[in-house]
Symmetry: C2
């Protein structure tokens, strides 16, 4: 994966972000979002996140991530994040680049750990990527995700400690 | 526990709800909320929830719960909920009454399961109550909660299936 640029999202990106998020929502097998994906959702959940970073190449939005505290107050030292890679650009290592960048940002922001609340059990690419980056499976929610082909499938809670030296 | 009334929350209850939520936030050992507990928080997170029910006795707010979907879209068939009992009224069975009422409401609303995302590992009363009502521990998040006395403690993800006959 070469020639791409990572940069913080800005309001002018909202249209491209909405298009990318809609395309992944229509695929329907990785993220829960459905009919609530609109401009307001981009504003509040993505541009309004603690951090939101985009990967562009030749003016085309390849992928993006957002992060922020997983819980308020006494749970706010653990971050959570969402990652999206456009279908045409998968399998080239961009997911790993985005997760690595996000983990750095999250660590620099002072979070102590990162947690994913809903990694769909059938999403092998994500599971394999997260495991290879030190995430552990710390929970299994039965029938958590209404998969468009497979019906109700489990989802995993995954976690990585960011304070451990090394 | 006798003489109490359960009813849906209304705007006129906001002041009493805020007072109860603040008192539990100050205790600090069960719920994550800290400085974000204000009128806007009551409006959006409690009065604005899919369901919000209060327990009153002689004009005094004893406890309350809220519920709603734990995730959007493809995860919205699982409910989550928050329960609060005023300190002076604990140990009398009100927690069980609230959870039972909530499970009925959630089942009637068509949810397929209920999930708690952060049951603090030191909160024995809640753990024991939820277990006795069929909730299973499906995940353990290390150091998830900044406990005011015990430092970082684990939290459990708990789950009950509402579709199983019986």
């Amino acid at each position: 994966m070469n020639g791409h640029v990572l940069r913080t999202a800005a309001r002018a990106d909202a249209g491209a972000m909405l298009e990318l998020l809609r395309s992944v929502s229509i695929e329907g097998d990785t993220l829960p979002f459905r009919d609530q994906v609109d401009g307001h959702f981009i504003d509040s959940q993505w541009l309004g996140a603690a951090g939101c970073v985009l990967a562009y190449q030749n003016g085309f939005l390849l992928g993006m991530y957002r992060y922020g505290p997983n819980m308020p107050g006494r749970g706010s030292h653990i971050a959570t994040a969402t990652f999206i890679v456009a279908k045409a650009f998968r399998g080239r290592g961009l997911g790993r680049i985005l997760v690595q960048d996000c983990l750095e940002q999250v660590r620099l922001s002072g979070f102590r750990a990162m947690q994913f609340n809903q990694v769909v059990a059938t999403n092998r690419a994500a599971l394999s990527l997260y495991r290879s980056m030190g995430f552990m499976k710390v929970g299994t929610i039965p029938d958590a995700f209404a998969h468009p082909q497979d019906g109700y499938v489990a989802a995993y809670v995954m976690y990585v400690d960011l304070c451990r030296p090394g």
